[in-house]
Symmetry: C2
Subunit: 289 residues, 2 copies
DNA sequence: GTTCCGCATGAATCGATAG
DNA sequence: ACTATCGATTCATGCGGAA
């Protein structure tokens, strides 16, 4: 199967308008968080976040197939000692646009950021919001079945690793091994809580989520040959995984340095240097007309 | 220390008005879920939930000390294939009342209900919302420290040596910093994700949460002798734990059968019989005037 | 070839200080 | 009074080099 991966440089707000309607099976993204990643994305003020995001979600609604799914990874910041309300307000506003708020998954980050404060503990979870256009959407639950027991704690990561091995062996020597180990065990459906560590260091890229995260949702909501979109591509984790899993994909990012990296023109190490230099630091988010 | 446990029969909406202002250190409750627990609570329609709850939260705001905390265990139902929005709307409305939405903990229910649906997985988490009256509130973090992760077992011994050395060399210019931080390195502060199994043992009543849940928050937000309130007592888990931990407590419930049980007049087994018979089934929630 | 150890670092937050 | 910057605090993970 021939798979197409399209990488687009530009502001999602503008670029999405050029994409045809009802053409995407899965949108999965982790947009710049409010006021976060200042050095690479400029940051959007929490109070302006909804107003910034709604034009984009409007376009996403148009582009998504009626059987498709929109997965949004997001978490609200602390502002003035409180959790800010822009995320939950965003849910309400997106429903007014016509989105169905089907589910909220929890991503439990096992290795969360350290720190100690007098009034709160470390934050070790993020929201993964599932939106749909229609009550009827594609879902391939059997593709993410896991061995019984503590499924996600260690299994999910192992699963993805074995899948990689299996892929490699197909391409390479052709030894299909370890499969019997898995099929013999009793398999169960997972829950709506995902336990994944963040791939923090030495990977030399600023991926917002580990590969296993988009992998899980791509398997769950698409089939090979389907179309996956990440409107805030970053270092391209979603697209890399989509390609490996034989899904077509589109990635959009406003920063040329990410485009270069995903296209292989620069290495992850060089990317880090760019980021450290803040060469592309102050991107202005103008908002769509 | 003499501890007082007060059990009140009545509608929280009315009974809360009789309690003095600024008198409670911790409110922790799991209110009747929308449309759930029909047999014992009548159920509140999701669309009416906010309107039903706001008069109560208004009274809770009055009763709570400025240093106190309100812990609300809640999860939205699925209505029409979607997560209903009454919980997130409730957060917004409570903030208008003057509550601060300090934090959202996740209760990960390890052994959640079984089941399978074509469009969603099992729900294995609930929201635990933390509200406060003031940015400054009492929090006793050391009371809920937990053992460090498994990685520490294999690494901590030698690691602690070098860490101490490194710490000393850093501080070498200054004077003796608190080495005590590093001496008991076996315990760490928890995060905002709680992993608790729902209690299946013995529990022949419709307890909404396991004892470990109120225990954790009572330890975290109160000291012995403080006052704890559960305005939807049910079988009295909060009050039982409070008593064991030497906290004064008040429990309110509208169903006589719960009062009887908590006061020891009937056994949990008899309670189940009552519940099954739906003898007190159709409680009307009139709302406060 | 394993196992073990040292180390850097991550979508963070608070409180104090400075302009 | 309000915003901007900075230091202090802290823990799980994976990599690379060593035993």
């Amino acid at each position: 199967m021939k798979v197409k991966t399209e990488i687009i440089l530009g502001d999602s707000c503008e670029e999405l308008k050029k994409l045809p309607g009802n053409s995407i099976d899965l949108i999965i993204t982790s947009p710049p968080y409010a006021d976060a990643r200042k050095s690479t994305y400029g940051g959007i003020h929490p109070d302006k976040y909804i107003e910034w995001f709604l034009p984009i979600s409007q376009e996403l609604l148009r582009i998504l197939k009626s059987t498709g799914t929109f997965i949004l990874n997001i978490k609200e910041r602390i502002v003035g000692g409180e959790r800010h309300t822009y995320v939950i307000e965003l849910i309400l506003e997106m429903r007014k646009q016509g989105w169905l708020w089907t589910e909220e998954f929890i991503w439990h980050k096992k290795n969360c950021y350290p720190g100690k404060w007098p009034n709160r503990f470390r934050d070790s979870w993020e929201r993964i919001l599932q939106f749909n256009k229609d009550k009827k959407f594609n879902m391939y639950q059997d593709e993410v079945k896991v061995p019984m027991g503590d499924w996600a704690k260690t299994r999910l990561k192992n699963l993805s690793k074995t899948d990689k091995i299996r892929d490699n062996s197909k391409v390479g020597s052709g030894f299909g091994k370890n499969i019997s180990n898995w099929t013999n065990r009793e398999m169960a459906y997972p829950t709506n809580v995902l336990h994944l560590a963040t791939e923090c260091n030495n990977k030399n890229h600023s991926a917002t989520f580990p590969e296993s995260l988009p992998e899980w949702f791509i398997k769950l909501f698409t089939e090979p040959g389907d179309a996956v979109l990440d409107p805030f591509m970053g270092s391209g984790t979603t697209n890399i995984v989509a390609k490996r899993l034989k899904r077509n994909s589109i990635g959009i990012d406003i920063l040329p340095v990410y485009i270069d990296m995903v296209k292989g023109k620069i290495t992850p190490v060089e990317l880090v240097l760019f980021e450290k230099k803040e060469k592309y630091g102050k991107v202005k988010h103008k908002g769509c007309k």
